[in-house]
Symmetry: C2
Subunit: 341 residues, 2 copies
């Protein structure tokens, strides 16, 4: 009897060790000490996030390229900002961006608070002269004041607080309780047989060596401490040429260090079925192809179509459910317009 319990205990421990490698997404996103998430910040942040009036033309909001009605991005290879201008990189999803190890493909912002300020003054994104000019527009809309007051106290209409509010809203844009999460929590019916096969192939082929952790974007580190990988690692193959994967030098453009050439933040795989096209340059339209490209360029493996299909099926288990979002009412400018262009 004693021996039986010991065997059982060993089995349980083994199962726990195995389960511990696959982690469910937390139900609450971590926040930095100086910006705890509050309801008032989230409410204000949602308004600012959805408001296109802080772009030069009044046509581009955060949500334009990171659309929370879709996969948190824009279905485009590279995003389109004011005046139809395009940038060089694919818009990363805002869903679970709270769990990104750093922000932007090249990690040039540590936290969501820093990231939020970037696109506003980018000439091919929101196209404002600078963030203070954008903030002047916010200050010109009387209806925003009470929301800042509530979130941050009196006289708080600053760029820093606007960024904090947007970041707080973004930290609510998370998708725990996907089929994968339910599976990890014990519901073994949550994944199909093919998805379980895909999960095992994802691991046995080595995908999880980079795409580990609850968000499938690397080991859990301190917020803002980036987890990078070289992409492509195997740089001389046909895929690299076909999809021009090596042209963007990635993190080297931030640090100026040759050692950072082609280094990119490891992306989350959560909701990846909803974020086509793929990669930093949005060059691959199909998820199965993206899986084959990654296997070849990162692991030097030629995946069979069957293996790629299984892995794609598994990745589908990382999608949603998405929380319901009520549209904010953007305060009016009371009989005037603040758009200049």
């Amino acid at each position: 009897m004693k021996l039986k319990y010991a065997v059982l205990l060993t089995m349980i421990l083994a199962a726990q060790v195995n389960a511990a490698e696959w982690r469910a997404l937390p139900e609450v996103a971590p926040a930095p000490d100086d910006n705890p998430t509050t309801e008032a910040k989230v409410e204000l942040g949602k308004m600012l996030y959805m408001d296109p009036r802080f772009s030069s033309t009044g046509t581009v909001s955060c949500n334009s390229c990171h659309n929370v009605m879709e996969g948190g991005d824009d279905s485009r290879s590279v995003s389109m900002g004011v005046h139809g201008k395009t940038g060089g990189r694919n818009a990363p999803t805002v869903w679970n961006s709270a769990f990104h190890s750093v922000q932007f493909w090249d990690g040039r912002a540590a936290l969501l608070e820093d990231q939020a300020k970037g696109p506003v003054a980018n000439p091919v994104e929101m196209g404002m002269e600078d963030v203070e000019t954008a903030m002047d527009r916010v200050r010109k809309i009387p209806g925003y004041k009470p929301y800042f007051d509530k979130a941050f106290g009196e006289d708080s209409m600053t760029v820093e607080n606007a960024a904090k509010a947007v970041a707080a809203f973004e930290r609510t844009l998370i998708t725990p309780n996907s089929a994968f999460d339910l599976y990890v929590k014990g519901d073994k019916q949550a994944l199909s047989e093919q998805q379980v096969r895909g999960l095992n192939k994802f691991e046995s082929n080595g995908c999880s060596s980079c795409h580990s952790g609850a968000a499938f974007n690397g080991p859990q580190t301190k917020l803002g401490e980036g987890f990078y990988a070289k992409f492509p690692t195997f740089g001389d193959g046909a895929y690299v040429t076909k999809y021009q994967l090596a042209e963007d030098k990635g993190r080297e453009s931030v640090t100026g260090d040759k050692a950072d050439a082609n280094m990119f933040r490891v992306s989350t795989l959560r909701n990846i079925t909803d974020t086509s096209p793929y990669f930093h340059n949005g060059s691959v339209n199909d998820l199965g192809e993206a899986v084959r490209v990654m296997a070849k360029t990162q692991l030097n493996k030629d995946l069979s179509d069957a293996d790629a299909d299984d892995i794609v099926a598994f990745l589908g288990a990382l999608t949603g459910p998405y929380p319901e979002i009520t549209m904010p009412r953007l305060p009016a400018t009371a009989g005037t317009s603040i758009i200049a262009e």
Copy 2:
């Protein structure tokens, strides 16, 4: 005693006659016989309305220019479509467009169903080759099929049905129960003293000769039977030059009839505090100025600033409340993108 009752009756009748001139907005918008509003159509229509993937660049949805988080328009003088292209006219508000006598400034569409198809294939708006090409994109998104099935039955993914769904959604975008409506329904505290003064000046100056009815856009006619006015009527003044009001020939561009020169559909004044800038060319930014311009160009009257202020205060009583809208979840394309440009 009998006489007293007669006097009282006369007073009541007089009051009713007066009240009948000011009409509250109906709580339900009228719909054409062949497209009764149903919950399933509204749900589908909301999705199509918010989905930018049916524009050539994937960046412009109906909501881009007719933003229901704002005043149902875009805060711009003239709208900006794909590739930063601009058109020649100001985006009319979608709020209460169900009560417009006809659609578009020049009435070139009778009903919302007809209107919905216009911007999709307009090269400076959504920029698709034609509406069928846009519909092909809808058909490529598997998640839309069940919504069409539910709203219109099997094999129903057609342009006609998509337009019907969008129109059905737009018929829910109405704003009864504004302060003015409450006032008309008997709550005499609903308007401030200044607003009541403004209401009387609005009438005594003759604004209500065109801006009559529940939506302040003319007498109630059969759906799609346009109510037009010449703007400017007094065409040789300084305002006309300053704001280039006579350059757009309006309905003449539709009918080719010189008699229609400068004829425009009379606009609703509902929510006008939220729809700056003003007029068909969006040339006037300030509502007070817009009121003065209208008085001069349409009634040949020079309004005092005090009178204009009172009328602006009254117009504020025609704004909102806006219904709460939940964001639709736009169906994913399951690991591919359908955006070509």
